[in-house]
Structure formats: C-alpha cells, structure tokens
C-alpha cells in the first residue's frame, strides 16, 4: 500500500495536465481550466506549507519508488505536452477560421466549437502554465542515459529551450552559486531580468560548447552535428504547427506567449533555487549552495525538484530518494514563493532575513568575503 501511495503521489502534474487538455478541447470557458488549476495549486501549496515529509524507505533501506513506473510516466509526459500544444493549436485554428459557435458531443466529451478572443487568451495562458511545468521532467531526464536525455531535449524543445538539457548538466551543476553560472541569480537581480539572462546565458554556453567541440572534431559549426542548432530544429514542429494553425500573427503570437510563460516558469525555478547564494570558485558544491522548498505539496507536485540541496550534492540520486538535508530552506512552497518573486521589492524584503541567516550560519569566511566584494 505504501509503495502504491509513494508512486502515485507524483502523478499530480500528469493528472492536471490531462485535465487542462480536456479543458482546451471542451472549449468555451473550460479553456481557463489550466489557469484555475494553477491557482488551486497555489492555495493548496500555501495551506500545506508547514507539512514536511522525509524521503520514504522500507525497513531494509530500499526505496519505495518504482523506477520503471516513474520513468515510464516521465517518457509519456512528452506525449502529454505534445497533446497540450495540439489542443491549443486546434483552438487557434478555430479562432482564425472564425468557426461558428456550436456544441457537439464526441468521445464522451461535450465540445464547444468556436472561441472568443478572451477565451483564446485563457487557452494560451492555460497551456503556457502547464507547458512550463514540463521543466520538472526535462530536468529529471537530463540526468539520464541517452534515451532519457533525448526525451529531455524534446520536452524542453516544446518551449524553445532545448539548450537547457546540456547547460543544466554541464554548466549549472559545475558552476552553481558562482558568477560563471547564468542560472544562479545574484542578490539584487529580479526574476524578470533573470529569466532573460539565464535563458540567454545557458543558450550561450550550449553555443560555445558546440563551437569548441566541433572545432576539435574538425567539423563545421553549420552542420547537423551541431547540437545547439539541432535543439532549435527540435522546436520546428511546434513552430510549423502554430504557423499553420494561426498564421504569422495570431499563431506566432500564441506560440511566443506560450514559450514566454513556460520559460519564465523554468527560470523562476532556477531563480528560487539558488538566489543570492555564493560559492568560492573551485570549491565543492555543498548543501548550503542551494535553497530547499520541500513542503509536501511542492515536493509531490514538482517531483522533489525542491530538494535542490540534496540533488546538487547527490546528483545521481533518483528524485523519489532525495531528502531534507537540513540545508537552507525557505520554509514555504514553490507556488507561494513564486507569487512573492513576481513583486521584486516584496521578494527582496522577504529574502533579507533568509540571506542574513545564510550569511551568518551557512557561509564560510571566504564566501562572506566574496559577498563583501559585491557590497552585500
């Protein structure tokens, strides 16, 4: 029973993603389902912020997680996120075609054809919010063998961020909490600026990585051996779909909005995970170089991505085995913190006590010296 519960509790996102898709397909005001679900998650996350659970192991020290099942779900999520884009593209198609409003019944679903401008906006936001959550699977699979790594690239390519898979493993995990890591936000930077700089910085890393790799191999940068270029080509089907469905204005605008929301969520996770933390170059990554957000709903929803401290020290560990390692912890969930980050002065004010605590209790003398150099 415990084994079943431990494995099923990580199905919140798959279930809600499918409900969002059904909402899009149902049409009418149901297209806002994704937005409503997101809001509901924020409420649940805030209400359960004081509940923290440890990783579960049986009496023999074995994890309850079923690798085959969890990885099967992650691989299937690629299909779910593709379906999400297809559902949105269909509504865009109807909007551009000015499909008459009518109600049909198909496959047990009551479908409202046609869509208003307001509801199209709702549909795009709904899809964007849940497409952005795809990061949790893109992240987990980036730490995997060839097939999983490739699936990660494809999931991230649905948001135009295929470079993430390489940058996360080969840059972020090495340069964490240092200026060389664009995914680590220094103190004083707001989440909006960080979204662009982290996205561009990781893209630049991927660009430079390929440039030097192909030069070493005597190959041309402009070739299909270039994984930076390939990453963008993986995004081509999404672009073609939305251009075909909605044209160069509506279709492209919808896709860009979806990508903006999804990438904002991705970089907000990076932002919250390491904001303001400092590590001396060359020193090993330790628990104190990450912020944990592991209240129960955050932990189950984000498949333990909030256990950043343990993940960065034990990168080989499956997500269901990551634990509370008593590292720096915000004490609230990701949804709650995410809402705070949206108002930069509020976030800075909120972070002051956390950073003061980190400086005095976690930072080494060298790390405090680095903080001084930046005038903290």
């Amino acid at each position: 029973m415990k084994k079943l519960f431990v494995n099923m509790r990580y199905l919140i996102v798959p279930a809600m993603s499918v409900i969002t898709i059904l909402g899009l397909l149902s049409g009418g005001n149901y297209v806002w389902t994704g937005v409503i679900l997101f809001g509901l998650c924020a409420v649940i996350d805030t209400a359960t912020k004081n509940i923290h659970l440890r990783a579960d192991f049986d009496e023999n020290g074995n994890s309850y997680g079923i690798k085959f099942f969890q990885y099967g779900v992650m691989y299937l999520m690629l299909v779910v996120f593709i379906a999400l884009q297809l559902a949105l593209a269909w509504k865009i198609y109807q909007y551009v075609n000015v499909t008459p409003f009518n109600v049909v019944n198909a496959y047990g679903l009551t479908i409202q054809n046609g869509i208003t401008t307001t509801n199209l906006i709702g549909a795009v936001i709904s899809a964007g919010l849940w497409a952005g959550i795809g990061i949790i699977y893109g992240h987990e699979l980036s730490h995997n063998k060839k097939e999983g790594f490739f699936i990660s690239r494809l999931i991230m390519s649905l948001s135009g961020a295929s470079h993430f898979t390489y940058a996360h493993v080969y840059q972020h995990h090495l340069d964490l909490a240092h200026e060389d890591d664009p995914a680590t936000a220094p103190r004083g930077r707001n989440v909006y600026m960080h979204t662009w700089l982290s996205h561009a910085g990781q893209g630049k890393f991927s660009f430079e990585l390929e440039k030097s790799r192909l030069k070493r191999q005597g190959k041309s940068f402009l070739s299909l051996d270039n994984r930076w270029i390939l990453g963008y080509l993986y995004s081509l089907p999404s672009i073609i779909l939305f251009v075909w469905a909605g044209g160069l204005f509506v279709g492209l605008l919808a896709l860009l909005t979806l990508w903006l929301i999804a990438n904002f969520e991705l970089e907000a996770l990076n932002y919250m995970g390491h904001y303001g933390l400092i590590r001396e170059k060359g020193k090993p990554v330790e628990y104190r170089h990450s912020w944990d957000n592991d209240s129960v709903f955050t932990d189950w929803f984000f498949i333990a991505i909030g256990r950043q401290a343990d993940h960065h020290v034990r990168g080989e560990t499956y997500f269901w085995e990551l634990d509370d390692v008593k590292g720096p912890n915000y004490g609230i969930g990701y949804f709650s913190l995410f809402l705070i980050t949206l108002i930069p002065p509020l976030f800075r004010s909120y972070m002051k006590k956390h950073l003061d605590n980190w400086d005095s209790k976690y930072a080494t003398e060298e790390e405090r010296k680095i903080a001084k150099q930046y005038g903290y």
Binding site: L197, A200, F207, L248, D359
Partner: protein, 85 residues
C-alpha cells in the same frame, strides 16, 4: 543604455524587420495554410531566431552575466561597515 546593448538591440531589430518584410513581400501571411509554406516559414523563423541569438552572444559577450552591476551603493563607509553580514 550601454553601447553594446543598443547595438545588439539595433542589429536584432534590423534583422528581424528584414525577415518580416521578406515574408510579407512573398505573401507568406496569405499562404500559411499550405503545408509547404508553413514548413518553409517555420524554417525561416527558427533560422531568424538562431541568428538573433548569435548576434546577441557576439555583441554582448559575457557582459550581461556579470554580478558587478549588483554592487550596492552605500552613502557612507559607516553604512557599509554597519551592514549586517
């Protein structure tokens, strides 16, 4: 605004506008429902994006990622020395 930021924005805007004008000139906005056109437009757009990112990387270099710009400005040494660490 920094000179390199302005240059990057200018080049990106020029390149994107050029592509937009070219697509408009070829009536791409009227033919997008034909699959061949949709694929071609998609390819043009993704190449445009890759060129824009390359322009940004080359022109701005590592400058945007520096943490120096977040150095706090203190009114006095006293404020600096009294801040909590």
């Amino acid at each position: 605004m920094r000179q390199s930021t302005f240059l990057a924005l200018l080049l990106v805007s020029l390149w994107t506008s050029l592509i937009a004008f070219a697509l408009y000139s070829f009536d791409a906005h009227l033919h997008y429902r034909e699959l061949t056109w949709a694929i071609s437009i998609g390819l043009v757009l993704i190449i445009t994006h890759m060129v824009n990112m390359t322009i940004y990387f080359k022109v701005r270099g590592n400058k945007p990622y520096s943490w120096n710009k977040y150095k706090k400005q203190f009114d006095s040494l006293k404020e600096f020395s009294e801040r909590k660490i």
